[in-house]
Symmetry: C2
Subunit: 367 residues, 2 copies
């Protein structure tokens, strides 16, 4: 990156303030980052916390910080820069004034068709399974899965996308070079090699509670909609939904057993009419696809017609009967293919009209 | 029952025709049952299937049938009779022209506050558990649980109500003296002793597919709303929902795992906005309570204040901590009380503000 005065000013202001600071955001929109930074540095800024900003910059060599980050493969993007996602401007004065990026994917390209998949850190096995399945399903259709890199639903979503070699974006509440949680360092390594890690925090910074909450607004703003897979009452995951609602982006929720407290928050949102109930990746894409592509099932059906008529589909199809319905698990056993794969294939074959779902299992449809 | 000409005519027409026959229904509304029957008997009826009706009556001594039924404790009710439920007239020409009843409860009284609980015959353990819990919950608040006496969700709902000595009504597609399915003869015995068995079919009649479908309209029409607990795509249980919709009665659905085909039909209805998602008996009653009693939670909370502060509540309460959330199963173990009971008690205590639900379990609320 060429450290122009604008880049230096934006990166400095991000050092000086906390993510989502509306005073900094508004000032930058009105006066540009260079003037705002200069006023702070010379003690003439009218902003309420100007002295605090200045003290956080004293002794810092932000230019050297940037050069060091770039040497580690970290890059910086900002409004107007090639990779920047214009959609972020929907946050108004709360929009990030820059983003640190790590990984091969282009921010604007990958987020163009993306869905946030969020949920509880203490997710159940069911929630993690469904998060992975849906993430894999949308990723197979070239939609990116954006999440927060946390335990539970987040990691299940990232892994689901990675499992099908799809695109995934982790938005962190710490520096893009910080492994938090530490147990996810392998995950972050893989995402930095195949996906994209995004943060407003400068490299090296650690997360705080406030940073998690502000991070959620970035997840909501980067994506076309937010899907919550499991969330208890008052779960932090519901915070991301609130941001999506404010941005007027669709909010989707996966139901679960009513006996599971982990689904109670999702059920509440659906009951209130604030989230659309979805049960699979087809329904997610149907809800989020841009206007004019409303006939998702038909459209994708046609596309998959060519993508999918491969050996595995054939094996799945041959493991079915035209008369005796078989459960997906039985089909998986007969075909010798993992159940996760079989479920995805059956959905695809269903779109093509080659198989049919009945109350007791799947049937092959004779041609 | 006093076998008046009207009773004899209605019972005869029910022998002559199949349930829900709109020609018979409309003719009875216009001309009264005695004239309609006389015209059929003398071969002057203008109805399209008049000859068929007549042939089904030939050689029948309906009066003797009625006397025999009454001797077995079976009674007959019809529009205008003391026990008749006026709400059934909402079915118009499809309304039953009479009903056979067996059991101590009064049809009109028991159905005044009633909910239909329906679902798949091949329900999962989860579905049966939730059906029982919700049935017990509504029955504890003196709402009757109406269902069809079938395997799966039906029997779970009836048993849930019976378990708390609540009111339950089985609406059959065969005579009220016929045990179908045979495996449910104990259930039917108990309902005939504590609840109510209802049918349009004369005693001794056996079910047919058409009779099951017509029976569903009676279930929908007897109740204030219909709850579906589990139903696959194209499940017969959804037929009852269609009747409830036509009657403009609320349709409610319990979500479940998206991995369960048994919940797929319910999820579809919720997605289409044709069913309200509910997760417990409080939410069912909130949706179905008559206007002016909208504050279900508060109202019932007050009533329960006196009903419920018993030893079991105390034990459940003492098994909780004010700091460490405990799952209901853990509470059940600590209190030595069955989990089903604990769940019901926790709901009650929650209404009283004595306990609080958190993402990871239940907390006691200090006074």
């Amino acid at each position: 990156v060429n450290v122009t005065p604008e880049v230096l000013a934006r990166a400095s202001l991000m050092r000086a303030s906390e993510p989502g600071d509306p005073h900094i955001g508004e000032a930058v929109l009105l006066h540009g980052p260079v003037d705002v930074l200069d006023a702070i540095k010379v003690g003439r800024s009218p902003l309420p916390k100007a002295e605090r900003y200045r003290s956080r910059l004293s002794g810092r060599e932000v230019e050297r910080d940037i050069e060091r980050a770039v040497a580690q493969g970290i890059r910086f993007s900002w409004p107007g820069q090639a990779e920047w996602l214009p959609r972020l401007a929907d946050l108004g004065s709360h929009a990030p004034i820059g983003l640190w990026l790590r990984g091969p994917l282009d921010l604007a390209q990958v987020c163009d068709r993306s869905v946030a998949v969020v949920g509880s850190r203490s997710a159940t096995a069911y929630g993690q399974h469904v998060a992975s399945e849906i993430a894999a399903g949308v990723a197979e259709r070239r939609w990116a899965v954006v999440s927060g890199g946390a335990y539970g639903i987040d990691v299940a979503a990232h892994r689901g996308a990675l499992a099908v070699h799809g695109a995934t974006v982790a938005v962190l509440a710490c520096g893009v070079d910080v492994d938090y949680p530490r147990g996810h360092n392998t995950l972050f390594n893989r995402i930095s090699q195949e996906g994209l890690i995004v943060s407003e925090l400068p490299p090296g910074e650690h997360p705080t509670r406030a940073r998690f909450l502000q991070r959620n607004r970035v997840i909501a703003a980067l994506t076309r909609g937010t899907l919550v897979v499991e969330a208890g009452f008052r779960s932090g995951a519901l915070n991301t939904l609130a941001h999506a609602e404010q941005l007027m982006r669709p909010v989707l929720g996966v139901p679960g057993p009513v006996t599971s407290p982990m689904s109670a928050g999702v059920h509440e949102k659906v009951r209130e009419g604030r989230a659309l109930l979805v049960t699979d990746s087809d329904e997610v894409l149907e809800a989020l696809s841009p206007m004019g592509e409303g006939l998702t099932h038909v459209g994708w059906g046609e596309q998959r017609m060519f993508d999918m008529l491969d050996d595995i589909d054939q094996q799945v199809f041959e493991a079915l009967s035209v008369r005796l319905p078989r459960e997906a698990a039985v089909v998986a056993r007969r075909a010798g293919i993992p159940a996760v794969e079989v479920a995805a294939r059956l959905s695809g074959l269903e779109l093509l009209g080659r198989v049919r779902r009945t109350e007791t299992g799947w049937l092959a449809v004779p041609e």
